[in-house]
Structure formats: structure tokens, C-alpha cells
């Protein structure tokens, strides 16, 4: 059997998807400086292309054999906890396969782009950048391919690390280094949620393996009481709500949702290819992937589904509003990413799993294209990112302009056959019409998500057209814009490929009653079959009016955006600023959420740690131990002798008091 042979070959090859980029990172990391830029680029791009080829080969195998064929690369036992054993195994099904294609494909394009974009760096910086990028891909593939929560978590941490390293890539700039730290710390808060979820799942099921979890979860009923373990006495629904909400906290960190989204706009401090690959196309969608991956657990916890949907919808609108007032080309795209991620969460939260994942895929294409386009513009504009200084770049940078326009239309969705339209509107229509466990328990969530999402979609069309109009339309507003030049083909060819993909990906999401309708929905059905069955997701008849409404909304808002910033209504924005100065400033300051966190969380923590440091360390220990090289030798010696004496006594006294307290506690309790 030729086909089973091919599968036999493909299964162990899955490891290559992780090991190839990892090997690239190792070689470039240790020897990159000595190899020279050409070899470094060759290695980094080579491993990505090879990984993409492997992914294509493996993906091809999924179409053979019966419906729901999966590839597995079982691994050895990693560790055992009690009766639970966790092994390294890879799982390549229709969900992880799709993501593998996106990660390696878009990743390879962005690697190519980077070889030109980063060519101004010195040899060390160049090698370092491509090392981190390869490292990121290795971690992301671990996250995607892991067949259990532990491996996914490992990838989850790995991509966080790579993202942190890349945001702070230009670490000599204090502000940028700070942005890296902010991203990392915010993500750690989220990771804590992931761990809670992970431990809860381990306690409940005794395994983190997706296949086993699926099987065990399939036998559960929501109202069942749990007999043993830490959750004894809880219902399955309650325990899984805790677990899945834990996961979702992790997702809000990684995928930049309310309230932990604050790091993503600052993550734009990194080089633009990083923003495209990590902070738009792949890493930030890890949260969506996790919810999709564990959809069978979310399906048992309607409250969690409602939370995911609501938070997603709120984030979508909230960040779209912030994007209205931003003037930094990358910041606009960053808030747009946050907003689009919100859409994805509406999808995977409300039971329209395929729609959420589809939007993930299409978003990867058009947002990567937009970011790379922004990078190209920045190159042309000598690293200026303020869109007020641009304008008229249409003629100066034809390829960048064309691809940017295509992607803008794709994301706004007012020209029907482009990909963003169907994926976004499939999500919204599903949210409105969904009949499932969530809509039974919380009937208001679906319509609310629909309303918020539609407003966000209108907002998206508006701010994207504003961005496009200010950047490319009209006349150049500065000298720099007048002398902007097109980037090299190494940069615009990946743009063209991505723009092309942004157009043709529309095929995947056509509505059910069209030819090729619901291609992606049917393709991913085996992955989500159990979640759909558990949550009783009912198919709804495809009706035309939501699509028409969405189209009209996008058209009107987009047209308004263009008209207000490049057309006949140019006076309106200025009037708006005049009439509502405070509101404008509030939006420009990103609704001051950072300041709120600063005031609510960071400052108190700083006060506490300063207090501990001053009182505990500086006063008790450092204060008594002299480190003053500045002091005169005699004074030093005298003080030293005295304080050293005092120290030991104090230490001993502390221990004695502690023993006393403990004895008092133990004996005071009757000596039992």
C-alpha cells in the first residue's frame, strides 16, 4: 500500500517540523557571527523552506484514507506523576496541520523578507535576529504539534521567550527593552492561568493527552458529580468551568484580550517582521488554537464559552475604538490585531469553531501582509512610522501599495470575494444564530456578540480605510514621503504572495449553499465533531441578510473612513477633535488602560517590594553589613566589627524567637 507507506514516512518526519528550525537556531546562534550574513540567511531560510515542504507533505497525507485520518509521532515517556504519564508525542490532525502550514508557510515568507529588512544590522545582530526567529518557529511548532497539554505548554513558554527576545531585540534602547519586559510579565500572568487549567485537567482526568482527554470527556455529563480527587463533590461542569477559564486566562495573555492585551501594542517595538510573524500571524493566535484544541472541554462548560465569547466581542470593539485615534502605522495594525483576535474568540467561544480557525488563517495572510507592507513603508520613509507624515505613497511604492490595498479590503470585507469577508461574517452569523449549550444557558451572549462584533467590523472598515487613505492616498505631506522609494523585490515578493493568499483563501469560507460551500468547515469537522456534539451545536439555515448587513456596514464605514481622510469630508476629523477634545485625547491615550494598571497593580507592587527591600534587606541585612567601599578604612573596620557581632546575635535571637513561637503553637494546642 503506497499510501500507508507514505504515512509511515510522514509520521516520524513530523519531528523535523520542530527540529529543523531548532537546528537552524542552534547553528546560527553559536556560529552565526563567524558564518557571515549570506550563510546565516541561507541556513535560516533553508530550514524554513524545508519545514514547509515537510508540512505540505504531511498535510497531503491527511486527505488520504478515511475521514479524520491523523498522523502521530509517538514519543517516549517524558515524566510520570503518580499514575499519570506524560510523553512527548506529536499530533498532526486537520487543525494542527492547518496551523503548521500557516506557521511554516507564512514563517518562510517572513524569513525571506527579513533577510533583506534586517540587512542593516551588523553580523552579530543579523545572526541573532534569525536565530531568534528560527527559535520562535521551533517553539510555535511544538505548541501546535504537541499531542498533550504539557508539550503545548512547553511551546507556549517557548514562544513567549522568543517573543520577549525579539521585542527587546534593539535592547540598547531602554524603552524597547522595557516593552519586552512588559510583554513577558503580562504573559506570565496569563501563563499562571494556563497552569491552573492544566493542573485542574490533570487532577480531573489524570492525563493531558488530547486523544485520551477527548475520549474521557466524551463519556462525561455536565451534571455528574465527581467522586474523588481535589474536585470531589463538584459537578463536571463546575470543575471544567474552572479549568477552561484557567486556560482562557492564559489565552487573554498570549492572544492579547481584555484585560491583558496591553502588551501587544508595545510589542511593536520589535522589528517589523517580528510584528508580522509573531504578533499578528502566529503566536498571538495560540490562544485561539488552545481554545479550539480543547473545544471538547469548553463544550462541557457553557459559562466558559459565554465568557470567551463576551470577552472576545468586548475586546474586538474596544481595541477597534482605540485604533481610531492612533497615528503610528504599526500601532493601528496592532490594535487591529487585538480586535481581530477578539473576532476569533467570538468564533471559537460561541461554537463556530471552524469559523474562528478560518479567521485565524485568513487573518494570518492579510495581517502579515499589512505588517510587512508597513515595514516596507517604514523602509521607504526612513523608519518614520507616523502616518501624518506620509500620504501619496501610492505612486512611490506601487507594489507595497497594491498589496496593502488588497489586504485592507480583505480585512474590511467590503469587496465580497476577499477572504476576510467570509471568515468574519461566518463568525458573526454563527454567533447570532447559534443554538447550543451556551445559547441555552445564556441566550443574550450570541446577540450581544453579534452587535458588538458588527460595530467592531464597522470600526475596522473605518480605521483601516483611514490608515490606507492617510498613508497612500492624496499627496505627499513631507519631504520624506516625496522621496520614498520602493523596497527590494526580496521584500515585496513575499508581500505579493501573501496578498494573493489573502484573496484566494476566500474559497475556504464560502457559505454553505454556494459551490464549494463550507469547504473549511467540512474539512475541520472531524476535529470539532465531539465538541459540536457535546454542545449540541445545531446547524442553522444559511440566510442572506446577515451577510448583506455586514457588507453594507463595511461599505458605509469604509467609505466614510476614506472620505473623511482622503475625500470630500476631510474637515470632519478636525471638527471632531475640536468638539470633543477630551474624548479624542482619551482615545489617543489608549483609554489610559496602562495608566490604570500602573496605578492599580504595578505601583502597589512596587511599594511592597520597595518596602521589603528597604526594611527586610537593606535595613536588616545590607544595612548591618557594610558594603561601603567609600568609607575610610578605620571606620570601616570598626563598624564592621560591631555590626558583625550584632548581626550574629540578631540572627540567633530571631531563630530563638521562632523556636519559641513554634513551641508555643504546638504545645499550646494541647501537644497533639
Amino acid at each position: 500500500m503506497a499510501h500507508s507507506d507514505a504515512i509511515q514516512v510522514a509520521q516520524p518526519l513530523l519531528w523535523a517540523l520542530i527540529l529543523l528550525p531548532a537546528a537552524g537556531a542552534l547553528v546560527n546562534g553559536f556560529f552565526g557571527r563567524r558564518l557571515g550574513k549570506g550563510n546565516v540567511a541561507l541556513i535560516a531560510v533553508g530550514v524554513m523552506v524545508a519545514a514547509f515542504a515537510v508540512a505540505v507533505f504531511a498535510f497531503f497525507q491527511l486527505f488520504h484514507g478515511e475521514h479524520g485520518t491523523v498522523l502521530r509521532a509517538p514519543g517516549d515517556v517524558w515524566f510520570r506523576v503518580g499514575n499519570t504519564s506524560v510523553s512527548f508525542g506529536l499530533l498532526f490532525d486537520r487543525l494542527s496541520g492547518t496551523l503548521s502550514l500557516v506557521v511554516t508557510g507564512v514563517g518562510a515568507l517572513i524569513h525571506v523578507y527579513s533577510t533583506s529588512y534586517m540587512s542593516h544590522e551588523d553580523d552579530f545582530g543579523y545572526a541573532r535576529f534569525l536565530t531568534y526567529l528560527n527559535l520562535f518557529v521551533a517553539a510555535m511548532m511544538t505548541l501546535v504539534l504537541g499531542d498533550n497539554l504539557a508539550l503545548t505548554f512547553m511551546g507556549w513558554e517557548g514562544v513567549g521567550l522568543a517573543s520577549y527576545l525579539l521585542i527587546g531585540f534593539w535592547y540598547t534602547d531602554k524603552q524597547k527593552a522595557f516593552c519586552g519586559r512588559k510583554a513577558f510579565i503580562t504573559n506570565r500572568v496569563g501563563d499562571f492561568g494556563f497552569l491552573i487549567g492544566f493542573f485542574a485537567v490533570l487532577s480531573l482526568f489524570g492525563t493531558g493527552d488530547y486523544a485520551q482527554l477527548t475520549q474521557m470527556a466524551g463519556k462525561l455529563q455536565g451534571g455528574q458529580l465527581i467522586a474523588t480527587g481535589p474536585f470531589a463533590g463538584w459537578t463536571v461542569t463546575a470543575a471544567l468551568t474552572l479549568a477552561t477559564l484557567g486556560f482562557f486566562v492564559g489565552c487573554t495573555g498570549k492572544s492579547a484580550q481584555l484585560p491583558l492585551y496591553v502588551w501587544l501594542p508595545d510589542a511593536m517595538a520589535g522589528p517589523t517582521p517580528v510584528s508580522a510573524l509573531i504578533h499578528a500571524a502566529t503566536m498571538v493566535t495560540a490562544g485561539v488554537y488552545l481554545v479550539a484544541r480543547t473545544s471538547f472541554l469548553f463544550a462541557l462548560a457553557p459559562a466558559s464559552m459565554a465568557v470567551v465569547t463576551t470577552v472576545g466581542a468586548a475586546t474586538a470593539l474596544f481595541s477597534a475604538l482605540i485604533a481610531f485615534a492612533q497615528y503610528d502605522i504599526k500601532k493601528v495594525l496592532a490594535y487591529s490585531t487585538v480586535s481581530q483576535l477578539g473576532f476569533m474568540f467570538i468564533g471559537v467561544g460561541s461554537g463556530a469553531y471552524f469559523a474562528g480557525v478560518l479567521h485565524l488563517v485568513t487573518h494570518a495572510f492579510f495581517k502579515a501582509c499589512l505588517f510587512l507592507g508597513a515595514g516596507s513603508v517604514m523602509h521607504g520613509m526612513h523608519e518614520d512610522t507616523d502616518i501624518r507624515n506620509m500620504g501619496g505613497l501610492r505612486k512611490k511604492m506601487p507594489w507595497t501599495h497594491l498589496t496593502f490595498l488588497v489586504s485592507t479590503i480583505a480585512i474590511t470585507g467590503f469587496v465580497v470575494p476577499l477572504s476576510g469577508f467570509f471568515s468574519k461574517d461566518a463568525i458573526l452569523a454563527n454567533a447570532l444564530f447559534a443554538h447550543n449549550a451556551m445559547s441555552d444557558a445564556y441566550p443574550w451572549v450570541g446577540p450581544l456578540a453579534y452587535v458588538l462584533g458588527s460595530l467592531a467590523a464597522a470600526g475596522t472598515a473605518f480605521y483601516m480605510m483611514r490608515l490606507y487613505a492617510l498613508t497612500f492616498a492624496g499627496e505627499p505631506r513631507t519631504e520624506a514621503a516625496r522621496h520614498a522609494h520602493e523596497s527590494s523585490p526580496v521584500m515585496w515578493v513575499p508581500l505579493a504572495v501573501l496578498a494573493f493568499l489573502a484573496v484566494v483563501a476566500a474559497v475556504l469560507g464560502l457559505p454553505g449553499n454556494w459551490a464549494l460551500g463550507e469547504l473549511f468547515g467540512r474539512f475541520t469537522h472531524p476535529v470539532f465533531a465531539q465538541a459540536i456534539a457535546t454542545a449540541h451545536v445545531e446547524e442553522h439555515a444559511a440566510t442572506a441578510w446577515p451577510f448583506i448587513v455586514a457588507w453594507l456596514v463595511a461599505l458605509v464605514a469604509g467609505g466614510l473612513g476614506y472620505a473623511m481622510f482622503a475625500g470630500n469630508l476631510k474637515s470632519i476629523p478636525a471638527r471632531f477633535v475640536e468638539v470633543f477634545p477630551a474624548l479624542t485625547r482619551f482615545a489617543q491615550d489608549k483609554f489610559r488602560v496602562d495608566e490604570l494598571y500602573q496605578w492599580l497593580i504595578i505601583r502597589p507592587l512596587q511599594v511592597i517590594s520597595r518596602f521589603l527591600w528597604k526594611v527586610g534587606d537593606a535595613l536588616l541585612i545590607d544595612g548591618l553589613l557594610v558594603n561601603g567601599t567609600a568609607r575610610a578604612a578605620m571606620a570601616f573596620a570598626r563598624l564592621f566589627r560591631t555590626l558583625q557581632n550584632g548581626d550574629v546575635q540578631r540572627y540567633a535571637a530571631l531563630m530563638a524567637v521562632a523556636v519559641g513561637v513554634i513551641l508555643w503553637t504546638v504545645l499550646g494546642r494541647g501537644g497533639n
Partner: protein, 494 residues
């Protein structure tokens, strides 16, 4: 009258080999005075390896009428200690050689200390434990003062000695009270509880004092106060050995004692004893991590980190109180100790390689400042990589040993219903990631200061670091063989 049987001698073979090694190195220093001392570290490694192998093959059984026990548990402890000793010896060779302070006595003292640690792993009698602790401690006091011309090492050794004597007194006094209550110092007898009905208060007081004495050795809050000063002042390779070896041995006897104490004071969760232990674990996790955050001296940060790790280990010991999860908890503790041994010695080795070579024995105040690590990835990429691996392991990031270790311990704590403590553990280790990764940030993201020396490295140090990195990664990825050994070891302790 108990007589010496061949079983007794054989069971004590690892201890004897280590002690014999100590004597051999002591004599080598005076009889083989060629001036070249490179062989001494290798001899130490050889003795450590032999002791480890002997422990691996030892037949289990009681030694000297139950005063000590040779079992899989003690074998695991001995192997871990021997591994730590071998690593520390290689690290020391490079460090001491650079300072012209390499002498046979150093290795002899290390070997004597290791023999005490190994014996401590076997001890099942409070008096034997006391003797073993003293063998271990006296050697480490002397080692801490090795660079005796320096102020800091002398101060560190002095503090360690004075406070160590204090803790020994507590331990001994506790032992006497226990003896008064139970008529025996054998842990198996102590576990049966007081002889007379009224003796339980006496027994509790005695056990508390014993536990306090041991808490000093493991650096549990509030008996930790000596740790930062001593760890910072002692020569770096000694600190590495102290952090790894003393902790391993002390946790071994603490686990055995606590289990006996649980049995003696009537069951687990409802008595005061576990509660005290729980409070200690909580305080240790919090204080260790919170105080590590503001440190700019990497060595001092690692000292506080050592306290923090003691907290996680205490959590494991606490969980072992529940018979249902005892095996899981103890195996987690053992695995944790093995993983901490590799990570901590490795981390201290890197710190030692980078610290400035000051005047005889005394390093300047900023010898271990974070700045010294700045730009290390450019100057010495492999050293920076090794340090990154150790930091990740200490932080508990997969796929390193530290992650698996933390997972095992926290899982056991959850299994024993210490949910709140497990949550604190996870939260504080998240906090820990901050200060560990700050080191990584400095190495990879800060430009090097002008004229910063590249640090001292040597082939032996490279070997030691390579072994430590390999151990951390192998324990992290292929943890199963070691974890199954730890499970087998935990299964024999009741």
C-alpha cells in the same frame, strides 16, 4: 550486645569510601608534593564515583540494629551527593587553581563532608543523624573559611559556625526530650509515640526542636538568616557544594524525621505538627522569592533562590505526611534534589568563573553584580548558554529538570489537598522567573562594559558545566529513568 557483621560494614561502604578518600587526599597533600595538584580533583571524582556506584549496588538492610538503614532511599541520596561532590570538585579545581589556593585539604574536607551527607541519608536514629550532621557541618564550616585571608569568607564561616552550633544545640536538646518521652532515639521507636500517656507534650516539644535544628540546615524561614551572608561570603565552589549537598542530605533526614513525627503525634492533617511545617513552607517560599527579586548580586540572588527552593521541597515533605501520596511526594522531593544539585552547582560554577579575581580571598563588593554578566553571550556564548539552561531550570521552565521537579512536587501537594500552598508555590515560582530571567536578559541583551575580563575557564570547568547542562536537560526531557529510581527510593520509606 550488638556486634559488627559484614552486612553493617558493606552497607556503610559508600560512607567509608568517601571518608577513605578524604584521608587519601589529606595524605597526598603532604606526601606527593610535586607542586602539580591537577590529580587531586580527579581523585576526588574517582572516589565520588566509586561511592556512588557502591551505593547503587548496596544490599538493602538495617545497619547496627536499625540505627542506620541502607535502602534505595539512602542510595539515591548518596548518589546525588556523590554527583554533586564530583561536579563541585571539578568546579573547585578551576576556581582554586586560578587563585593559587588549590590544596589537598580542600578536597579532603569536601570528601569528609560528603561522607557525613551520605551517612545522613542512611541515618534512622537521631543520634547517628546528629553525628552525621556534625561531620558534614564541621567540614563545611572549614570549607567556607577556605580563603582564610579574606574578610568575607572568614565572616561567613564564623557566622555559619556560630549559628550552626546553635542549631546543633537545638537538635541535641530536642533529641534528649524525645528520648525522655519515648525512651529511644531510634526513629522507628519514636514513631510509636510516647511511652506514657502524659508524654505527648514532651515528645512534641522534642520533635519541634529537632525539626528546628534541621530547618536551619535546609535554610527554611525563619531559620534561614545565615544563608545569604554565608552563601555570599563563602568561596563560590563551596557555596555550590553547600547549596546542593547539604540541602540534599538535610532533606533526607528531615523527611525521615517528619514521617516519624507524623506517626508519633497521631496522624497527618489535624495535628499541630503539619500545620507548623505548612507555615514554614509558606514563609520559606514567600521570603525566598520576594527577597531574591531586588538582589543585584547574582550570588546573593542564588542564595535567596536556594531558600525559595527549600520552600518547595518543604511542600513536598509536608505532602508526604498523607500516606496516599507519600510515595509520590517523596519521589518528587528526591527528584527535585537531584535536579537542584545539577542546576545550582552549574549556576554557581558560572558565577565563580566570572567573579573578579580580587585580593587574597576577598572579592570586591560588586564581584557578583549583574553587570558582570552583561554581554556574556557575545564574549562567551557557550558559558552564557549554560547559564541560561541553569536559570531556566531553577525557574522551572520546560523542558528542563527544574520544571519536572516542580511539577512532581506541586502535583503531590495538590494530591495531599494542600491546594492553597500549591497555588502559592506556582505563584512564587512565576515571580522567580523574573529574577532568573533577568540574568538571561543581562547576558543576551546588555552590552558588555568596557574592559570586562572574559572570566576564568578551564577544560575541567567546561567538562563540569557540560555534565551539569547535560544532566539538567536529560533530567528534563528523559526524566523517566531517574524518576523511576526516585519512586523506588520513595517506596521503601514508611
Amino acid at each position: 550486645m550488638p556486634t559488627v557483621s559484614s552486612q553493617d560494614v558493606l552497607a556503610l561502604a559508600p560512607v567509608a569510601i568517601l571518608a577513605l578518600g578524604g584521608i587519601a587526599l589529606l595524605l597526598s597533600e603532604v606526601f606527593l608534593t610535586s607542586g602539580k595538584r591537577g590529580y587531586q580533583a580527579f581523585l576526588t571524582v574517582l572516589f565520588a564515583a566509586t561511592a556512588g556506584l557502591t551505593a547503587f549496588g548496596a544490599t538493602p538492610g538495617k545497619v547496627f540494629a536499625g540505627q542506620a538503614t541502607a535502602d534505595a532511599f539512602s542510595a539515591f541520596v548518596t548518589i546525588t551527593v556523590s554527583f554533586g561532590l564530583a561536579l563541585a570538585a571539578l568546579v573547585s579545581a578551576s576556581w582554586l587553581d586560578a587563585r593559587g589556593a588549590e590544596r589537598g585539604e580542600f578536597y579532603a574536607l569536601s570528601l569528609f563532608a560528603a561522607s557525613g551527607m551520605s551517612l545522613l541519608g542512611m541515618a534512622s536514629d537521631l543520634l547517628v543523624a546528629f553525628v552525621a550532621i556534625e561531620i558534614m557541618s564541621l567540614s563545611t564550616y572549614a570549607l567556607a573559611a577556605w580563603m582564610r585571608r579574606g574578610k568575607k569568607p572568614a565572616e561567613a564561616a564564623f557566622k555559619y559556625f556560630i549559628l550552626g552550633a546553635f542549631s546543633s544545640a537545638l537538635l541535641l536538646y530536642g533529641t534528649s526530650l524525645v528520648f525522655g518521652a519515648t525512651g529511644s532515639t531510634l526513629l522507628s521507636d519514636v514513631a510509636r509515640g510516647p511511652l506514657q500517656a502524659g508524654g505527648s507534650a514532651l515528645l512534641s516539644a522534642g520533635l519541634v526542636l529537632v525539626a528546628a535544628g534541621l530547618a536551619f540546615k535546609v535554610a527554611a524561614v525563619p531559620f534561614h538568616v545565615w544563608t545569604p551572608d554565608v552563601y555570599e561570603g563563602a568561596p563560590t565552589p563551596v557555596t555550590a557544594f553547600m547549596a546542593a549537598g547539604v540541602k540534599t542530605a538535610a532533606f533526607a533526614i528531615l523527611a525521615r524525621t517528619v514521617l516519624a513525627a507524623y506517626a508519633a503525634t497521631g496522624g497527618a492533617a489535624d495535628s499541630a505538627f503539619p500545620r507548623v511545617l505548612a507555615v514554614l513552607a509558606l514563609l520559606t517560599m514567600l521570603v525566598g522569592n520576594l527577597f531574591a527579586v531586588p538582589q543585584r548580586s547574582v550570588k546573593r540572588m542564588l542564595a535567596y533562590s536556594s531558600i525559595a527552593h527549600a520552600g518547595y521541597l518543604l511542600l513536598g515533605v509536608l505532602a508526604a505526611g498523607l500516606p496516599a501520596v507519600r510515595e509520590r511526594a517523596l519521589s518528587g522531593v528526591l527528584f527535585y534534589l537531584a535536579s537542584y544539585t545539577a542546576s545550582a552547582i552549574g549556576a554557581f560554577a558560572v558565577v565563580g568563573a566570572l567573579e573578579s579575581n580580587g585580593q587574597p580571598g576577598d572579592e570586591p563588593a560588586d564581584a557578583w553584580d549583574l553587570e558582570r554578566l552583561a554581554g556574556l553571550s557575545r564574549r562567551r556564548p557557550l558559558l552564557a548558554f549554560a547559564m541560561t539552561v541553569f536559570m531556566l531550570s531553577l525557574a522551572g521552565v520546560p523542558p528542563t529538570a527544574g520544571f519536572v521537579a516542580k511539577l512532581l512536587v506541586f502535583q503531590a501537594a495538590v494530591g495531599a489537598q494542600y491546594l492553597a500552598l500549591a497555588v502559592v508555590g506556582v505563584l512564587t515560582s512565576a515571580l522567580g522567573a523574573y529574577y532568573y530571567l533577568r540574568v538571561v536578559v543581562y547576558m543576551y541583551m546588555r552590552p558588555a562594559a568596557e574592559g570586562e575580563p572574559a572570566g576564568v575557564t578551564s577544560p575541567v570547568l567546561s567538562v563540569a558545566l557540560a555534565v551539569a547542562v547535560a544532566a539538567v536537560v536529560v533530567l528534563g526531557i528523559g526524566s523517566e529513568p531517574v524518576a523511576s529510581l526516585a519512586r523506588a527510593a520513595a517506596a521503601v520509606v514508611r
